[in-house]
Each structure stands twice: as C-alpha cells, then as structure tokens.
Amino acid sequence: MATDEGDWARAIGGDGEAFGRIFDRHRDRVKRHGMRLAPTPTDVDDLVAITFFEAWRNRERVRLVEGSVLPWLLVTATNVGRNLTRSAARYRVLLDRLPPTADQSDPLERVAVNDLVQQFDALSLADRQVLTLCVLEGYSEREAAAALGVAPGTIKSRLSRARRRLAGRLDPIRILNGEPHES
C-alpha cells in the first residue's frame, strides 16, 4: 500500500499538488465505495467530491493508518453517504461548478449496486463504518480500530454484531466469511 504520510504532511504545509496526488491515489477506491452508498451516478460523483472536501476541511482530525489516509476517506465517505443531501448542501456551489460525468456503468451492475445501497441504508452508521473497513475493504480489525479511534476489541464486537445484522441481506457468503472486497 502506497504511503500518504509524506504527501499528507506536505499538503498540511500548503502544497496543493501533494493533496492532488492523494486524490489520484484514492479517487477510484472512494468512488467504488461510493457506489455502495449512493443511488445514482450523479450522487456518487458528489459523494466523492464531498469526501475529499471534508478530508481537507477536517484535516486536523484525520488519522493515517499504516501511512494511508484511505481508511479515513472511506469512513468519511460512509458518513457523507448517510445524509448526502445535507452534506451536499454545504458544497452546493462547488459541486454545481464541476462538470458532470457521463454514466458509463453497466445498467445491470447498477441494479446490483442499488440493492446494496438499500441494504446498507438499513444499517446503523457504526455498522456501516466497520463493515466498510473490515469486510468490504479488507482492512484488519487493528487498522479499522486506528481509523475509527476505538479499541480493537470494540471493532471485533461491532463487526460480529454488524455481520449478524447483515446476514441474509446481501451476499451472505462473502460477508460472513469476511473476505476482502475488490471490484
């Protein structure tokens, strides 16, 4: 996993290009995660942008895990997706100025994603956060604990509970086995 530590420090020091490299490094992963959280391609685009805007707005609270800011971005995306309308209101002017993205996704894939979005919506924010990191993105419980600022034991219990809640809702084999997800 590429380290963000140097670029993050440079960005904090005012180096915009360093933040641009972090965007380059993690944009696609955040976008893939966004497809689980937002119902339409436009919403996914907004979610990605807001996630990076929020990363910078809250930069003094960002936690790097094993030198990577990605876990924090994924958690932020999950939080943003919880109430995308409210999150987008803060950045409406900026979002409206970004050009639209042509939707190139497979319609059948979108049906599957929408189903996933609905199932994810039924979970609590804590469940979504821990499932995002440990199940969908393949981070260890220790790494998830660092990203979320809680004890590893807390992650273990949250994960167990979240898996039970999700069991039977979507792709139970993968979720129960806890296999890392890769699109």
């Binding site: 933040f19 805007f53 003094e60 936690r63 803060r90 002017v93």
Partner: protein, 258 residues
C-alpha cells in the same frame, strides 16, 4: 476541443484550495467558505442586509448558508451581520462599535473567479484580498481590530465576477500567549521528537482540563490525532494548540519534509 473531465476539475479545485490558504491553521475552513459566509446574516436578520453591489443575489441559497466557520464559539458576535454581494465595488457602513466590540469579523469570498479586496475606512493597511481563478472558488475570513468609538466603513473592490462579503462586530477572546514550556522547547531553534511529543501531551492535557478528549497514535512520525468538532468550535482547542503545541507542531512537520 478537449473538455476538462469532472475528475480533472475536482483535482484542480482541491489543489487550488490547498494552495490558496494563508496558513495551516486558518485554512481549515476554505471550502466551506463560499457557502459559509452568510447564514448568520440571513438567520439573525433577514432584513438587516446592507447591500450595495450591482448584482444582488440574495435568495434561497443564501438563506441556507452556514455561519462563517472561522468564528468560534468563544467569539461574541455583537451586531447583526452586514451582507454584501455584487460584481462591482461596494461599501458597507457598519457604524460605531457596539459596547464590548473590539474587532470586525470579515468574511470575503469569490462567487465567481476574480480578485476582490476589502479595506476598512479606506486604510490600505487593513486590506484583505481574495483571488479565485477559473474553476476555483474560495475565500476566507479574518478579524480587523478596531479601537475607539468612531463610525467605520468597509469597502469592497472587484475586478471581474461576483463576490460575497459578510461583516459583523465581535468581541474577541484574549490573545493566547505561548506557554513557558513551549517557549523553552523552541529556544534552541531545533525541535526534537521528545519536545514535539511533550508539546502534544501538554496540548492534550489542556484539552482534557476543559473536558475534551484527544485521541492520537503516538507511533506516527507526524502524530495523527483527532479532537471533537465541539472542542474546535468552542475555541478551547485553538487556545490549547497555540499555547502548548502550535509552533512545535509546525516546525516539526517542516523538519520532516523531503
């Protein structure tokens, strides 16, 4: 013609946003600034908008905008805000300071690309400038100290495009002094890892005294830590940071670069 993709445009906005800030601490609110400057004006006054710009844009969007985020809870806002938006030079008469006021809180933002300036009473020493290039939106906020009881005026200059200005009288908290411990650590011009961590510990203890918890991974070369939004908004985090950790943090991070 090659049109910029959304990803390219977003990247450019992000890079420009980081580049545009004047200092690490005060850049905190860059992106919320455009939509953040006016809500207090709309929320508190509704009709108390002082408008002199040539293209007034007051409407639903502005009514939903948030309080200027650089104004923490320990700053007392003592007047109804004045709001100005336009595409040409404008002026706001903010009157005399109300009792207890020692500064004007000024928030200036680009609504469209351009260069915009603010002067208080036409005094060049008070000039604040915000520039935004194509596709970039931003701005910031600051405090202009005011003494005496005279009446004052805030002027805006504009090149092209439109801007938005928010001004209010405020009572600022006392200036924070750098603690003796931080001064001692800075004295030899070199910040060691031990001094850096000790400064962070004092910062955390300062927050803890006020009831706020700071979480950190002490194994990181540059500490990754988190504090609650409430601690930041309260002003406590800012005071603790300046007193105990700010200069150590900055010098340490710079020393670790490249």
């Amino acid at each position: 013609m090659n049109r910029e993709t959304r990803d390219e445009a977003l990247r450019r906005v992000l890079v420009a946003g980081v580049d545009a800030g004047p200092s690490p601490r005060s850049r905190r609110t860059f992106w919320v600034a455009v939509v953040g400057a006016f809500v207090l004006g709309a929320a508190l006054t509704g009709s108390a908008l002082a408008v002199a710009g040539s293209h007034l844009e007051v409407g639903t969007d502005l009514a939903q905008m948030a309080t200027p985020p650089f104004i923490n809870d320990d700053v007392r806002i003592l007047s109804e805000p004045y709001f100005l938006t336009g595409t040409s030079a404008g002026s706001v008469d903010v009157g005399s300071p109300p009792p207890g006021a020692d500064a004007l809180a000024i928030s200036l933002h680009c609504v469209e690309p351009g260069t915009y300036g603010v002067l208080v009473d036409g005094d060049e020493r008070t000039r604040g400038t915000t520039s935004c290039f194509d596709g970039q939106i931003g701005g910031g906020g600051w405090y202009q100290g005011i003494s005496g009881s005279a009446s004052h005026r805030v002027d805006v200059t504009a090149s092209t495009g439109s801007y938005a200005l928010w001004v209010a009288w405020v009572d600022l908290p006392p200036v924070v002094q750098v603690s003796a411990a931080q001064q001692a650590a800075l004295a030899d011009g070199v910040v060691t890892r031990e001094e850096y961590l000790a400064g962070f510990d004092r910062y955390a203890a300062c927050l803890a005294e006020a009831g706020y918890v700071v979480g950190a991974n002490r194994s990181d070369l540059i500490l990754g830590y988190s504090v609650s939004d409430a601690a930041v908004r309260s002003g406590v985090e800012g005071r603790c940071y300046v007193a105990e950790f700010g200069q150590l943090d900055m010098r340490w991070q710079i020393a670790q670069e490249g």
